[in-house]
C-alpha cells in the first residue's frame, strides 16, 4: 500500500491560513490505514484548524468529506457538491489522490495534508517499511522474493557489497543486509546457484521515463 505521514500541524495551519471555507477531504484507502487520512483523522484535524483560527481572531468554516479512494475518478466525483462550497481543499489522500482532485476541480486550490512516502507494508503495529521501489522491472524471481533495489541501501543487483557487519547494512538505519537475506533464502530453497550468474545492472529507465501506464491485464507495456 501507499504509505503516508501527516504533515506537521504548523505546516497545515500555515497552508490554510488564508482560507475561510475549507473542505477537508479524507480517503478510506491507504492513508486511512496509515492512521492519518481517514474521516476520523480529518474530523480531528478540522476541529484543530478551527480552534487554531479562532484563537487568532479568524473565522474558519470546515467541512469534512471522505470517499472510498481518491485515486479513482468516480469516487473523486463525489466531492463535487462540497467543492462548490469550499475555497480550498485540504486532502488527506496520497499524492495521487491530490492530483486527481486538482485535475477534476481546476478552480479549487488543492493543499496536501500528508507527505506521500513509499510503497510498503506493515512490519509492526503502526510501523510500515518500504518493500517496493515501483521500478517496473521486477526481479523477485531471481532474488528469493526479496527486492535488492529497495531493501539494499545501495540498490545493487549483484551483491553483497561486503560492507555489512553482523548481518546489518553499513549504511545507517539498522537495516538487515538485503543480499544476506537473499543468500539465506535462496540457500534454503536450494536455489543459491542462481547467484552464480552475474545479472545486468538495474534498468531504471522505465522508472524515470515520466508517468507510467498499465493495462487492464496488469502487464507492463
Amino acid at each position: 500500500m501507499i504509505v503516508v505521514e501527516a504533515k506537521s500541524f504548523a505546516q497545515v495551519a500555515a497552508m490554510t491560513s488564508d482560507c475561510r471555507r475549507l473542505l477537508v477531504a479524507a480517503c478510506a484507502g491507504c492513508t486511512a490505514v496509515c492512521g492519518v487520512g481517514g474521516e476520523r483523522q480529518a474530523e480531528e484535524l478540522a476541529d484543530a484548524l478551527r480552534l487554531h483560527a479562532r484563537l487568532r481572531g479568524k473565522v474558519l468554516e470546515t467541512e469534512v468529506r471522505g470517499v472510498t479512494r481518491q485515486c479513482e475518478p468516480e469516487f473523486v466525483a463525489e466531492f463535487a457538491p462540497a467543492m462548490g462550497r469550499a475555497e480550498a481543499v485540504l486532502t488527506l489522500g496520497c499524492g495521487v489522490g491530490a492530483q486527481f482532485l486538482a485535475e477534476r476541480y481546476p478552480n479549487v486550490p488543492v493543499l496536501p495534508g500528508v507527505n506521500t512516502r513509499f510503497a510498503g507494508g506493515l512490519t509492526a503495529p503502526g510501523v510500515w517499511e518500504e518493500r517496493c521501489r515501483l521500478c517496473g522491472d521486477c526481479v523477485l524471481h531471481l532474488t528469493g522474493g526479496i527486492c535488492p533495489r529497495t531493501r539494499c541501501a545501495k540498490g545493487i543487483m549483484n551483491g553483497p557489497c561486503g560492507g555489512a557487519a553482523g548481518g546489518f547494512c553499513e549504511v545507517g538505519g539498522g537495516s538487515p543486509c538485503a543480499w544476506l537475506l537473499i543468500w539465506e533464502r535462496l540457500e534454503r530453497l536450494g536455489r543459491a546457484g542462481v547467484l552464480d550468474e552475474i545479472g545486468p545492472p538495474p534498468d531504471w529507465s522505465d522508472a524515470q521515463a515520466g508517468p507510467r501506464r498499465s493495462g487492464k491485464g496488469g502487464g507492463a507495456e
Partner: protein
C-alpha cells in the same frame, strides 16, 4: 486567574462515574462547575469530542478512566491515556495551554479520590486565564463539520 471556570469531565461509567457517585454518597464536596459526562469507556471517546468541548468554550477538560488492568474492555483506558497525551500536544499546537486537559485513573471505590481530583483540577484551571474561546460566537455555521 479564572474565577468561574467551566470544566467538563468525561467519566467512564464503570469506574470514575461510579466514583463520582460515591463521592456524593460520602458527602465529599467538589466544585459544582465540574460537569460530568458519562461515557461507556474512555477508550471509545473520540478526539473530536474533547476538541469539541474546548471549541464550545470549556476552560478545562479531564478524562477519568479505570485503573491500569481494570478496564472492562481490556485496554480502553490505556488508549485513552495515549489519546489524551496526543491531544495535549495538539492543544499546544493550536495555541491552548496543554494543562487544560488531563487524564486521571480511578476505581469505582475511590469516591474520596474523585473529590481530590476534581478539586486539584479546578485549582489548576482557576490559575489559568479563561479560555479565549469562551468569548465570541461559534463559527461553525454555513458548512457542516
Amino acid at each position: 486567574m479564572n474565577t468561574d471556570p467551566r470544566i467538563i469531565s468525561f467519566c467512564c461509567y464503570n469506574c470514575a462515574y461510579a466514583a463520582a457517585d460515591l463521592a456524593g454518597a460520602m458527602r465529599v464536596s467538589y466544585d459544582p462547575r465540574v460537569t460530568i459526562v458519562g461515557v461507556p469507556c474512555t477508550g471509545a471517546m473520540e478526539a473530536v469530542v474533547v476538541l469539541g468541548a474546548f471549541e464550545e468554550g470549556a476552560d478545562g477538560v479531564f478524562v477519568a478512566g479505570c485503573l491500569d488492568g481494570e478496564c472492562h474492555y481490556k485496554e480502553g483506558n490505556l488508549r485513552a491515556r495515549e489519546r489524551v497525551a496526543r491531544l495535549r500536544e495538539r492543544l499546544s499546537e493550536v495555541g491552548l495551554e496543554p494543562e487544560r486537559l488531563e487524564m486521571y485513573q480511578v476505581s469505582a471505590a475511590m469516591g474520596a479520590r474523585f473529590g481530590e481530583i476534581a478539586a486539584e483540577f479546578v485549582d489548576r484551571i482557576k490559575a489559568l486565564p479563561p479560555s479565549p474561546l469562551r468569548r465570541g460566537a461559534a463559527v461553525k455555521g454555513g458548512m457542516s463539520r
